[in-house]
């Protein structure tokens, strides 16, 4: 059982003082939600769970501990592990301060999709995998969920089911079995100029400027963010289409080459804006232009936009 | 006094700019509509929102005493965006003023008492409204001895030199103590931090009220020193500075616990301060 493996691993890490604390998943308000949980002592290890809904990328939290002489254990899935690689590559958080607890993952269930067809309002008790089904046990009864039908969108295109970096891997390595063909981006690209404009205007109009997409992002690591600055006032604080568009464009460009496509920005958006699609457009272009991989996927590959090769395409000459 | 639209500033003109220190200037301002002076009746210790139109607003304490009618003075230290812009402004230019906001120094309660003002740096600006108020001929008989203890980093950083060395020492029953943090050439006055100088002077708390304002670290040690000297919590008055936007208790920024500094403060006695959570 993965849950037991997580608990015993974390217990021994804490007992042997290999880490100062571990960031993992605890039970959330309902069966479809997990809550990031910070475990500092062996007694607290029992709070840790593993859930098919454990979507949150926990790597971001190390940014609260920059410049501290600290060792942090983080539980990561394949997608989250790319964040670890990038944080290390950008020298935001040193590799030796990470203890990466990798969890192979066949895909995370999308609680919004599941909640449409099942009652997730009970508390999470446990889950078992039965072939292609996930049986989630809740205080309001068991729910049998066919996995392939209810995954997060990002999981259908996951190319790293096994973390690309880890200090310990809990479970069997899973060979990549899906491909990302950027269907979502291509669909939008195929629209006419007017249709594209209309689509994105409608999305950006909804934005309430809560900055959750920025705050959840493991590539957003500036000490002072341009969106918080009054001088120079790059983007006004007013929420209107023009300023919102500027916000989203700047945000997307700012993390270009560093965004690992973990999809958290889209997940957290309270207004359902497909924030991540902007980043994916940039990743797709970078892949086409520079034959690179998704940032963070290959620890050997440096920063995409921070390196130069003489054979780079030069559209601007 | 409630305005029809409390967020709409009155337009005023800068009439005089006084260079106080390398980073502090005092601006004299006059409302374009003289009628406004009849409704803008500030009390010592209150603050106002100064607008530069197209740039924004900043909360600034009113440094002139209400006994000086027909003008307002604001001493402004260049620290941020708006204050940097205002430092480039000259007489004749237009600004906006709304207020007055906040409570005031308890000058009624202080009547018949000796007053000890303790200021550091730009912290003298809010105190000055009360100093000039009690030193004004029409009020002077209501108050006892006035002592002013003031310090700055260097001689150049002393604000209101004309008051410190000229105007105030000439006033009856008034004593001014000035200190700078480090010795420097040409300075023959006291050297040392304000709290240390305070302990040296060791003013007797009997029938005295102290009013203090300065950088947080100075206030902290001054309050400790005063308690050591036997001042009760009601004898110690201070004025706080927090980030404010609306000035009218709505925008939620300047709260300390349940209190809003812009309407419930900025003036607090040490007794009141101790009841507040330490979040300022």
């Amino acid at each position: 059982m993965l849950k037991e493996k997580i608990k015993s691993t974390v217990s021994s890490l804490l007992e042997n003082k290999q880490v100062d604390f571990v960031i993992g998943y605890g039970a959330g308000s309902d069966a479809g939600t997990v809550r990031p949980t910070f475990v500092k002592a062996v007694e607290e290890v029992q709070e840790l769970i593993w859930s098919p809904f454990a979507v949150n990328n926990l790597a971001k939290y190390v940014m609260d501990h920059l410049y501290e002489n600290i060792k942090i254990g983080v539980i990561v899935k394949g997608c989250d592990s790319r964040s670890v690689v990038r944080l290390v590559q950008d020298k935001v958080f040193p590799r030796e301060n990470f203890y990466v607890i990798g969890v192979p993952c066949k895909g995370i269930l999308d609680k919004n999709k599941v909640a449409r067809d099942f009652d997730l309002s009970g508390e999470f008790v446990d889950f078992v995998e039965q072939g292609d089904n996930v049986v989630v046990k809740t205080t309001k009864g068991d729910i049998t969920i066919p996995r392939e039908k209810y995954l997060m969108d990002k999981c259908y295109r996951c190319e790293t089911p096994t973390p690309v970096v880890y200090d310990v891997l809990l479970g069997e390595e899973i060979a990549p079995f899906r491909r990302d063909n950027y269907e979502d981006v291509k669909n939008l690209e195929s629209l006419s100029v007017e249709e594209k404009s209309k689509y994105w205007d409608k999305q950006f109009e909804k934005c309430i400027r809560c900055y959750a997409c920025r705050n959840v992002c493991s590539a957003c690591n500036c000490r002072d963010c341009v969106f918080d600055m009054a001088e120079p006032n790059w983007v006004g604080k007013a929420a209107n289409l023009s300023e919102n568009t500027a916000f989203h464009l700047i945000r997307a460009w700012h993390v270009a080459g560093r965004c690992v496509d973990c999809g958290e920005c889209s997940r957290v958006c309270p207004m359902g804006i497909p924030v991540n699609t902007l980043n994916r457009k940039l990743i797709k272009d970078m892949k086409e232009l520079f034959s690179v991989e998704t940032p963070g996927k290959n620890p050997e590959q440096g920063a995409v936009l921070g390196s130069f090769r003489t054979d780079d395409p030069e559209e601007f000459m | 006094m409630a305005l029809e639209n409390p967020l709409l500033p009155y337009i005023a003109t800068i009439t005089k700019v006084i260079d106080e220190t390398p980073d502090v200037k005092t601006f004299q301002m006059v409302f374009d509509d003289p009628e406004v002076f009849n409704v803008f009746k500030q009390k010592p210790g209150q603050v106002a929102q100064i607008s530069i139109f197209g740039v924004g607003e900043a909360t600034i304490s009113i440094t002139s005493s209400p006994t000086r009618t027909g003008l307002l003075e604001f001493s402004i230290k260049k620290v941020g965006r708006l204050t940097s812009v205002i430092h480039q402004m000259e007489p004749g230019m237009k600004v906006g003023i709304r207020g007055p906001y906040g409570n005031n120094f308890p000058y009624e309660m202080m009547k018949g008492k000796d007053l000890l003002f303790i200021g550091g740096g730009i912290g003298l600006a809010p105190l000055r409204s009360l100093i000039d108020f009690v030193l004004a001929p029409e009020n002077r008989q209501d108050y006892g001895k006035v002592e002013i203890l003031y310090g700055a980093r260097s001689a150049a950083d002393l604000c209101f030199k004309y008051d410190l060395f000229d105007n105030w020492p000439k006033m009856p029953d008034t004593q001014v103590y000035v200190t700078i943090d480090r010795p420097e050439e040409g300075w023959d006055g006291h050297v040392g931090f304000v709290p240390a100088y305070l302990e040296e002077i060791n003013p007797n708390p009997a029938n005295k009220v102290t009013i203090t304002c300065g950088p947080p670290i100075m206030i902290k040690f001054v309050l400790q020193a005063l308690e050591k000297m036997g001042y009760s919590e009601d004898q110690v008055v201070t004025t706080l500075e927090l980030k404010m936007k609306c000035g009218i208790g709505k925008c939620g920024r300047c709260n300390i616990g349940s209190k809003f500094v812009c309407v419930d403060g900025p003036v607090f006695t040490l007794r009141e301060l101790k009841k507040l959570p330490p979040e300022f």
Binding site: Y199, S242, T245, D285, F316 | -
Partner: protein, 53 residues
């Protein structure tokens, strides 16, 4: 940049990026002319207009 601009619905040709050396005066002139012509043909920009005031 150009690609993302177009992705969110700016017309192709609204945004240009060119690498021009300080010694390429002729290229500056040609590029400026070309950009002006193309943008003029597109008409006034409607996206991201801030129509306040």
């Amino acid at each position: 940049m150009k690609r993302l601009f177009e992705f969110i619905g700016f017309e192709p040709g609204r945004f240009h990026a060119r690498w021009i050396s300080g010694s390429e005066a002729q290229k500056v002139v040609e590029t400026a002319k070309k950009v002006t012509e193309e943008v003029r043909a597109l008409g006034p920009n409607k996206k991201m207009r801030d129509d306040r005031c």
